[in-house]
């Protein structure tokens, strides 16, 4: 009591000191530092991703002239349109087939590169990454010239063997094949580099043990390589599925959705409806429709990964 009487400001001083210590402790905590360092990115994502996403949600609930709230009216309208379901089917076909081929080619090429001697490997890695490094709008323009309806370099080459000409972008089947091919060409190097990294992290002892047990090449792949790469395969597939579903530039440049809308994807059709036809709420609704499809895929893939993580 005497202390208190003699030093009337002491309580306040202690509180301030405690507060200072608290702040110091908080700043000293790893999680706080991590949060502060991630804050610029969080703000960036908030401004460039979260806000536009909510704004798109808001737009999707308005009528065409954006003067009235219509709730799910735009989605109800879309569900009745034959072309919308065609776009859904095409987007699934495009994304799933492109991701399967990208994964397959990436897996095979990663094995080839993995078996190249270390000295030469860097050159091969660099060369194989080129398609992924070139901006897709540029490389797709080069593909457009190769597929050009009237002056296709492919047709010229095929013509030397008496084959063709093939209307690469004018016939439905070939047009779909062409856009998927370009997407696979562009995306396979990403799979290759991810799988290569995963392959390098598989302990050599596992292969040695398998060899001692008499496992052949296929058994080594099936029982050693694939289980060790499962997580990276799942993550890469999910990531690529999202990016491929949302693809815009390749289809836009090669076919513009044609012929007869048979290569439209969500993004290209959303652009056609929203920007070119000045129906922004409907365009927003089309692009938002990707979200539940991708969310379901993400939930399944990530659940599988975390389940395996817990088992480990």
């Amino acid at each position: 009591m005497v202390d208190v009487t003699l030093q009337p400001n002491r309580v306040g001083t202690t509180h301030a000191a405690r507060r200072r210590n608290g702040l110091r402790n908080a700043l000293g905590r790893k999680s706080t530092v991590a949060f502060l360092m991630a804050l610029p990115l969080i703000i960036l994502i908030g401004v460039l991703v979260v806000y536009p996403a909510f704004y798109a949600l808001h737009l999707a609930t308005l009528n065409k002239s954006m003067s009235k709230f219509v709730g799910f009216g735009n989605f109800e309208f879309l569900f009745k349109r034959e072309i919308f379901w065609m776009v859904v089917r095409q987007s699934c076909l495009f994304a799933i087939s492109a991701v399967i081929f990208k994964a397959l080619i990436g897996f095979i090429v990663a094995h080839f590169v993995h078996n190249v001697p270390a000295k030469k490997q860097r050159k091969w890695r660099g060369m194989l990454l080129v398609p992924w490094v070139i901006p897709p709008a540029m490389s797709t323009l080069a593909w457009l010239w190769l597929f050009d309806p009237s002056y296709s370099a492919f047709n010229y080459t095929l013509g030397l063997f008496g084959i063709g000409p093939i209307s690469w972008l004018g016939e439905i089947g070939w047009a779909r094949f062409s856009v998927i091919l370009v997407n696979v060409w562009y995306g396979a190097p990403f799979f290759m580099i991810m799988y290569l990294a995963a392959l390098k992290s598989v302990p050599e002892q596992l292969y040695e043990a398998a060899a001692i047990d008499g496992a052949n090449w296929w058994q080594r792949i099936w029982y050693v390589t694939l289980p060790m790469m499962r997580n990276i395969i799942a993550i890469t597939t999910l990531f690529s599925l999202i990016v491929t579903f949302a693809n815009f530039d390749i289809t836009r440049i090669l076919t513009n959705g044609g012929p007869l809308d048979h290569t439209h994807l969500f993004a290209t059709w959303a652009f056609r409806v929203g920007i070119e036809s000045s129906d922004i709420p409907l365009g927003a609704s089309v692009s938002l429709f990707m979200f539940p499809i991708l969310a379901i895929a993400a939930v399944f893939i990530l659940r599988d990964i975390s389940k395996r993580g817990n088992e480990a």
Partner: protein
């Protein structure tokens, strides 16, 4: 350090001077006394055309003491359309914006009425054509001022030699330089026979059936020549009519004589077709001819731009005007209106058209006979009939006369070319019409 003392007299004098300066400042005509103005112009693809438009604006700015900023926004990849959408959403951006065809109507709620600019201009420069009224006016209110920069007619550009050789048609005689057209026999029947003859000769007409503007424009003009409308002016669907059936039958015959890959053509394909020397005719403004002049002069020397063939319901040519619009959120509307008037004066329009080599078309009736179209060569007079100097064809846009907000969707969904392709590829007439009717029902959203 010595410190100078301020006397009472000095203080009073300084205060009086500063007050006087502050009070009179707004009335002093400084370099940018009339404020700022930002303009989003269409980025012209003719080299040097942007320089002329900039010079015209800067002359005005200097005279009117306005601080002007010009951005040239390309239509490549629809960047101009994306910018329009963004500015409309954000309600900020340029004061004046160069909008193509359908966009004044699409943004009508956010545009400043411009009757006070347009009415004197029409009195001075002559009447504007029906398509300009259709696209630029709403309920008697002018939403925009037609601007020559980028405005074009996509009429036939024929090879003189090939048309003579294979179709026995002398396009120069039919559309003589310096004289009125003698094109009474230039009908869709003659056109079809010529297409067949040139196809047999190995030089098919280059008419696309893709989803882009050039393809849709040609289909639009041919449909209108038959009187075929998918949606009428009142907004009622009129797909299942004899006129639409006739237009589809015509296209079915025509497609057989076109290159086999026309379903995949974009706006560059027809240009390449002409410049490469593979075709006897394309439907385009003189940009393809201008490229040929640079890259293949022997082909350019054989090109002749002329009118469309006539159908049972008249002769229609695709016309795509650009407009200068004033956003209602603009902070300097008076300056913007002053510039709109200045840039639409005959002398300025002539400068702009000259800079584009005759590509740009003024919308006003008195300005379709400028010297530039008479003088362009090779061959001399090749562009004489490009601006429709004798009004012998109706300038129109595909999907009109449907209400513009519906027509825009018919246009950009390429419903016309899709119908033609579907029918050609084996779909029955009734199924094709039913499909188009379903599409049009979807375009009625408001």
């Amino acid at each position: 350090m010595s410190r100078k003392k301020l006397s009472r007299r000095q203080f009073v004098a300084a205060t009086a001077l500063s007050s006087a300066a502050l009070i009179t400042a707004p009335y002093v005509r400084g370099a940018y006394a009339a404020g700022k103005l930002s303009i989003g112009f269409w980025d012209h693809w003719v080299p040097g055309a942007n320089d002329t438009s900039k010079a015209v604006v800067m002359e005005w700015a200097e005279k009117e003491k306005v601080d002007v900023q010009i951005d040239y926004i390309t239509s490549q990849g629809d960047k101009n359309l994306v910018t329009i959408a963004a500015e409309a959403q954000a309600k900020t951006g340029h004061d004046l914006f160069s909008m193509p065809t359908w966009w004044p109507h699409a943004n009508s709620e956010q545009l400043e009425p411009l009757n006070d600019v347009m009415e004197p201009l029409i009195k001075q420069n002559g009447e504007v054509n029906g398509t300009v009224k259709y696209l630029g006016q709403l309920d008697g209110k002018w939403l925009a001022v037609p601007n020559c920069l980028g405005s074009q007619i996509k009429g036939p550009c024929s090879r003189i030699d090939l048309m003579k050789q294979y179709a026995n048609i002398d396009v120069q005689e039919m559309y003589p330089a310096g004289g009125p057209p003698k094109a009474d026999n230039w009908t869709l029947d003659t056109f079809l026979k010529a297409a067949e003859a040139c196809h047999k000769g190995g030089f098919p007409f280059g008419i696309g059936l893709g989803l882009t503007s050039d393809n849709v424009d040609t289909a639009g003009a041919i449909f209108q020549s038959f009187g075929a409308q998918l949606v009428d002016a009142k907004g009622d669907i009129s797909v299942k009519t004899d006129a639409v059936r006739q237009a589809l039958e015509f296209y079915k015959k025509l497609i057989a004589f076109l290159p086999p890959d026309v379903a995949a053509w974009d706006d560059a394909s027809n240009n390449k077709w002409l410049v490469s020397g593979k075709g006897a005719m394309i439907m385009n403004p003189p940009s393809a001819w201008a490229v040929a002049k640079r890259d293949a002069p022997q082909i350019a020397a054989q090109c002749w731009t002329h009118g469309f063939p006539a159908g049972p319901k008249g002769r229609f040519a695709p016309y795509l005007p650009y407009f200068l619009t004033l956003w209602s959120f603009s902070k300097n509307k008076e300056a913007a209106k002053s510039l709109l008037t200045y840039i639409s004066q005959p002398a300025q329009i002539e400068r702009l058209v000259n800079a584009s080599g005759g590509y740009d078309l003024p919308a006003f009736a008195n300005l379709t006979t400028l010297k530039v179209w008479q003088e362009q060569e090779p061959p001399k007079g090749t562009l004489y009939h490009y601006p429709n100097p004798y009004n012998h064809q109706t300038l129109s846009i595909a999907a009109s006369p449907a209400p513009p907000k519906i027509a825009q969707q018919i246009y950009f969904q390429a419903t016309l070319t899709k119908m033609c392709l579907k029918y050609y590829q084996g779909e029955t007439m009734e199924n094709t019409l039913a499909w188009a009717e379903g599409e049009c029902e979807g375009f009625m959203r408001s």
